[in-house]
Amino acid sequence: MQLYSKKSSYLQMQPQKETIQFLINFSKSFQVVKTKSKDFIELNLN
């Protein structure tokens, strides 16, 4: 049985810059408001 499997070139893979930018923008526009009844309201202020 193989006990340790070496990983190949895909260890160097990265997401697209657009994906990272989308996440950063999403985070900036995403707000959570707590209501009096302790529920959460998610707001996406795009």
Binding site: M13, Q14, P15, L23, I24, S27, V32
Partner: protein, 195 residues
């Protein structure tokens, strides 16, 4: 000027929860390669990897902003667990919606086994799976965790180490003891695992 390399994940998470959007960018940049590679190693498709990577961080953002993150575990193993669960969700959905289409070159029936053809073998197979599950359940939790990740989820020891928060050597050791203990249990219960 503070070098971002020297700031711990834990501090960045706290800063982000307190409103520093820049801290999120540092966290994403710091872990993007590791996380992306981890997802790709499972799904082997760049577009799907991109989607799961994005969904993982959307979940991270939601959880952090709702204040639902607790600092019990480390940030990266937590993110990896989210990604891992999303990968499992993807495979589950995918299995429910087979995408194979018959063409002149490819016939789906050429790769599907008819398990009913040999009922006896199937019963024995099920008994073996049942016995193996029983043996695994008798293992100590930490050994069971490593064994399941390695044998059933096909994770490398590097990934297991990242997911469980122990060193690769410890994970290897746990796997070794899991196998030793399984052999002992097989002998103890006089189980036959051959079809």
């Amino acid at each position: 000027m503070v070098r971002t390399n020297s700031i711990s994940d834990s501090k960045l998470v706290k800063d982000y929860i307190n409103g520093s959007e820049a801290s999120l960018a540092v966290l994403i940049n710091r872990h993007q390669q590791r996380l992306f590679s981890f997802i790709y190693s499972k799904v082997q498709d760049k577009v799907i990897t991109e989607d799961i990577f994005q969904d993982t961080f959307i979940k991270v953002i939601r959880t952090l902003k709702k204040g639902n993150y607790n600092e019990e575990g480390k940030f990266l193993p937590w993110v990896m667990r989210i990604a891992h669960n999303l990968v499992i969700d993807y495979f589950r959905k995918n299995n429910r919606m087979p995408k194979f289409k018959n063409t002149d070159e490819f016939d789906i029936f050429s790769v599907i086994n008819d398990g009913n053809l040999n009922a006896e073998k199937q019963i024995i197979q099920e008994q073996i799976y049942h016995d193996v599950r029983g043996i695994i359940n008798e293992l100590p939790n930490e050994q069971k965790e490593v064994l399941v990740m390695r044998m059933y989820k096909d994770m490398s020891f590097k990934e297991i180490s990242e997911n469980t928060g122990v060193s690769i050597n410890t994970a290897l050791g746990r796997m070794r003891y899991a196998l030793i203990n399984m052999r002992k249990l097989i002998e103890k219960h006089k189980i036959i695992l051959v079809n």
